[in-house]
Each structure stands twice: as C-alpha cells, then as structure tokens.
Point group: C2
Chain length 355, copies 2
DNA sequence: GAAACGAAGGAAACCGGTTGCCTCGCACAC
DNA sequence: GTGTGCGAGGCAACCGGTTTCCTTCGTTTC
C-alpha cells in the first residue's frame, strides 16, 4: 500500500525547482497548485471563480498559473464536465466559394466564444457525411453546423442527435430544425427595384438551370416584382447554366431576338460577366444602353467585369456568424428553431451608374 | 464504504434492458463490457487487439460494441494515451483561393488516418496566430499544419513546440523545419518550354508586384530559361499587380511599344485574362497571333477566358496531401525535415493550341 | 501427485481537471 | 465555558478508456 502511495506522489507532484525549470510536459493544475501552496481542487476553484476562497489565495493561484503558462488539459476538462468547447462544421458538398465566407463567419463567432471548430468536407458523399457525423459525435462536439453549396432544403443530417445542429446557407427540410439562409427573393427584389429606380422598364433575366432552387426563386421574385408594377420581362426568364459561357450565349440570343431591352438582371456574377462581354462586343454601352446587375458580389467577378458590376450580396459571412451564434445559444439551452432568412444587400457599381 | 460501492456500481453499469433500450447517453465501454459479459479492461483489450484473449471472447465484445454503436469517448482516450488524433491547421492569412485546395488535400489525407482537423484562420494577425497556437496546444493536438497565401518563407510559428509542425505552400525560413512548397521555378520553366516548343520566340512576361516573392521567382526563371536558349524577353518583365486590370493595361502597353510579340506568359490567370481581353479587342487572335499561358489553373478564370487558357497548375491539393502525410510521419516518429519542392503541371488549352 | 507454467481475464491505478462534501479553526453568542 | 455558525480549503469520487499487475484456472511435467 505504501508503495502505491509513494509512486502516486512521485507521479503527481514536482519539487518547486522542477516546476520552475523548463519542463517538456505542459504544466498541470497540480503543478500550479503546488506552486501556489494549495490543493489541486482549490486551484481549480480559484481559476474558475468558484468556491469560497480568500481573494489573496485566488490571486496567488492565478499568479502561479500565469508563471507556468498553464492552459489546462482540454481532454481532462471535457471528460469531467461533458463539454468540449468544440463544434463540428460539415460542408455537405465540397469546400468552395460559398462555404469559405460561411466558415470564416462561423469560425469568427465561435472563436470569440473560445470554441474550436472541426472541419469536415463531405464532398457530396452521404457515406463520408455519416462517417464524419460519427467521428464528431465520438469527439463529443457541443454542436454541429451543416453547410453546403445549395440553398435548397435538404433532409436533416440525422434524427435525434444528442447535440444541437444549425444549418447555414442550406436549410433542413424539417421546419423544426434551425437554419440560417439568405433571403434570395429579397435579393432579387432589390435588384429589380434598383433597375426600376433608374428608369429601366425593359428588363431581361438570365440565370442558371431551372431545376436549381436558387434560379427558380430568383426568377419567380423577379417576375412577381415586375408584375407588381404592371410590368413584365421583355422575354421569359432565360434559364441556362451558372457560367460565363451561358451569359455570352444568352446575350447573343437577346441581341438577336429581343425587340429591345435596357437592363439585364443576371442570376450570378459569372453570367453577368458573360453578358457584359458580349454586349460590349456588340457595341452596346453599359450602363448607358443596358444596365446590368449580377448576383453573389464575388470580388474577382465584379471587379474583373468591364465595367465593374453592380451585384447582390448575400452576406455569407454574416450568415455563418449568425448560424454560429444561434448554435451557441442552442448549446446554452436557448434554441431558436425555424428557418431564419437574412436580407441581401445591393452593392452598386458602374454597371448601373446613373448618367 | 458499501454505500460508495453501490453508488459506483449504479453509475457505471446498466441492466441489459437499459443497455439495449434507446439511451440518450452514448454507450461507454462499460456498457459494451456488460453486454459481452466481461470487464471493462477486457473489453478495451478486445477492441484494440491487445492482451491475451480467447478469439471467441474478442468476437463477443466486438459484436456487443457493434450492437450498441460504440465509438468510444475521444476525450477519455486522449487523457489516457496522450494522443488525441487531432491536428491543427492554421492559415496565417485568410482562408482563400489558395488555402482551400490545400486544406482539402490535407483534410483528405488526415481523414484517411482517422485524424480530425481543427481549423484556425489567423487573418494575417500575429496575435490571433499566437492565440490559436495556445488553444491548439491546450487541446493537445498531435501536430500542426501552417498554411498561407504567399509562398515566401516566414519565421517559424514558434520555437521548440511539443508537437511537430509542417508548413504547406508557405515555408518556414528555418531550413530544419519541414515545408512542402510548389516549385514555382519549375512551373515557369514548363510554361516557357511549352511556348518554345510551339515555335514562339518573341515572348513577353506580365506578372505581379516585384516585391512579391512568387513574381520574382517566376520572372527570374522565365528569363533564365530563355537565356539558356540564347533568347530574351521582348521587353523586360512587366511587374504590376495580380489583377485583370493590370493585365489589360499591360497588354495595352505591349501593343503600343513592343516591336512584335508572339506569346505572353502571365504570372497569374487573372492577369492572363486581362491580357486576352485587350488583345482580342485589338484584333489579335489567340493563339494564332499570340499564344497565352497563365499561372494557377484557376477554373473560373481559365474557363471564362476567351479562348480557354493554358495554365500552370501547382497542384495545391497534392501539396496539402503531402504535407499531411509528412505530418503523420513526423507524429509517428519519422520526421522528414527540410523544404520539399513539388513540381508543377502544365495544362494545355486553346490559348496555346497548335494551328 | 505436486510443482511449474501459461493462458485468460479481472481489479485497480492512472491520465488531469472538476465538484460535492467534509473538516478545521476562528469568531461570536449565550 | 460550551455551543453555533461560517469562512476557507482539503479530500476523494468521478468522467471513460487504457494498461499494468495479479489472480485463477487448466494443463503439462517430473
């Protein structure tokens, strides 16, 4: 028995010299406690502001912790308290242009809450998705953020998880889940109202594939907004692809068939860029002859475009941040279920400048 | 004493019915052990292939684990073994176009090794960087990957860390550190040799700012490669910015001053796109009159360009993957110090097509 | 038939931080 | 002088998995 105790004590405590010397192993709370002349439990209470301690003792412990550069062992803390201060972020399709700002926003909000993020890229593969889900759960994450490239609602990643989930950009088709999504209808309406405010009345709409949720929503709102003013598109919505090539092609069609148009609202900046190129090549001046509005406010596109492109910004970073904040709320016991739509913002540039 | 034992047993074991019923709390190894009719220690040995157990017992434990969906508590495992099977990935500047493929490659290689990734975005802020470093260390990551936007060597993120570090894309200026970087000189040489193989001899080079490491390296190799063939650039390397606007401007200068040129090698795809646009507008045909090569092989740029752009691919994903593999090696005790250059790849497209 | 050996599995220490409970000692009241 | 109350801090259980040591068999050997 005494042998055991001796070994125990050898393993747990160090002499003050040892403690102050450079030590390879990171300092434990026992080291801090020893240096402050208190027990480990007391040290813990001092550092966490719990228990009934003399201010002077608390101070001494804090000083010892600082001196040793004590940060604490996250695994041990997690084991005891059940909270890991980590969340998992799963991008259902690959990490791409849309996921990045979302991730940055989320990571920003979470980092401020001293929460670390596990990054998982499921690459559109349900098997990878479930693998990551299991991994994250076995790591006892406090919550999950699910993101993806499409705004269309998707089936929940799982039913009855032990931790809260927030969907960002994409949404769950279970209305009881918490989702934070851009209000794309709002974005489309802003674009149209902006064009109307410039006096444009003969507007065309070129966008992505009809089976794509975003394309349908934006087109629908575009038509509805015009209808509300007693107007209509000069030609029916032109569905195609999310590419510059389609933008160029569509502009060609417009030039050859439309009886006249003074504005084009495009479903993406890439499409808008293609449209701009072809219109310019055909001698149409932007914005004098044709005003042009894109969607996404993607820097390299709006800046590379000639002239610089007015566009709709979905504030992806804000969506990521909001999602993270809602996740933190849910973790702390105040979930905010439902689909939360966040407004878009119109960023005016030369392509719709007046004069 | 007996009270203690009773409480202990209440907390630790569940009746078989409880165990098989839907339980909110994830199953522990004690649950598995109980279901298999062995002790927790034996269950651990069975699942980890250690100890001396009858094959039939091992089998029974595995079956019980499967039945309960046992994955194990990562924090507990980490606490006991000291290994967390996590690594931290710090992007020194913001997550962007270059970081993403790197991250994807690294995450891919690590995920295959059952290692999870903590994502940290230091946003060019040394304070954030050190904050993340401390956080990651207190989480006992097994290793670190440091990435960033620039290829230029940077000071080591810290001296004498308790875990291995691998730099990806960027490199540490301590040659003893392990860095995996693209061989940009190789990329530039491939571009020039490609143009030479097409019979082009009057080559111009338009690139980014002279103070930028990548621009200098690529320009230097461009000139050296030409010199090796007894040739020189038609005009000295044109340093500017990494933007389409600069590409357009540079092309304008070329058209007005150069006595003649049949190829332009650009330091980035964005520059190349700007060059292409201006040349086309001036009536020069690509590739017939002027062959064009970019750098980065950035999909939206090379595909959006007219015509599609031949470009140099640095294989960022491969760099990320290699970095992760080297980190895993280092974690397992076989570090491979030094700066590792990985070759580039030329991706031919219409902008240098023959005929 | 007893000693020796090895296979199989259990008991408990251990990782490090947290927390409930208990003790100690001092101050104050009766 | 004894009792009560409370402030301060220590002790040890606990989280869940791993690992070391030890016990308990059954089998072999002389």
């Amino acid at each position: 028995m005494s042998t055991v105790l001796v070994r125990f004590s050898e393993a747990r405590t160090r002499t003050p010299e040892e403690t102050l010397r450079k030590i390879e192993r990171p300092p434990t709370i026992t080291d801090v406690a020893a240096l402050a002349g208190v027990s480990a439990g007391t040290a813990s209470k001092a550092l966490n502001g719990r228990g009934a301690l003399r201010p002077e003792t608390r101070q001494r412990v804090h000083q010892a912790a600082e001196q040793l550069g004590f940060t604490g062992n996250a695994a041990a803390r997690a084991l005891g308290t059940g909270r890991t201060y980590t969340v998992g972020m799963i991008t259902t399709d690959s990490i791409g242009r849309f996921s990045i700002p979302l991730m940055m926003g989320a990571e920003d909000a979470l980092g401020a809450g001293r929460v670390s993020v596990f990054l998982c890229d499921a690459r559109d593969d349900p098997i990878r998705e479930q693998y990551y889900l299991r991994t994250l759960l076995s790591r006892n994450v406090d919550g999950l953020i699910v993101t993806g490239r499409r705004t269309q609602a998707r089936p929940p990643i799982a039913t009855s998880l032990p931790v809260p989930v927030v969907y960002a950009f994409i949404s769950s088709d279970d209305p009881a889940d918490c989702s934070v999504v851009p209000d794309e209808a709002d974005g489309a309406e802003r674009a149209i109202r902006h064009l109307l405010s410039l006096g444009r009345r003969r507007i065309a709409h070129v966008t992505g594939p009809e089976h794509h949720h975003s394309a349908r929503v934006r087109a629908g709102t575009t038509e509805d907004t015009l209808a509300g003013e007693g107007l209509a598109l000069v030609v029916p919505t032109m569905f195609g692809e999310w590419s510059e090539a389609w933008g160029r092609q569509a502009a060609g069609i417009l030039l050859s068939t439309a009886t006249g148009f003074d504005a084009v609202f495009c479903g993406s900046d890439q499409i808008a860029r293609g449209v701009a190129e072809t219109l310019r090549a055909a001698g149409r001046h932007i914005p004098q002859d044709v005003a042009l509005v894109g969607f996404d406010n993607w820097d390299v596109m709006v800046d590379g475009c000639q002239p610089p492109l007015t566009s709709i910004d979905m504030d992806l970073e804000g969506i990521g941040r909001t999602a993270a904040e809602m996740l933190l709320d849910a973790i702390n016991g105040s979930p905010v279920p439902g689909r939360h739509r966040r407004p878009c913002r119109l960023v005016p540039r030369t392509s719709t400048a007046v004069g």
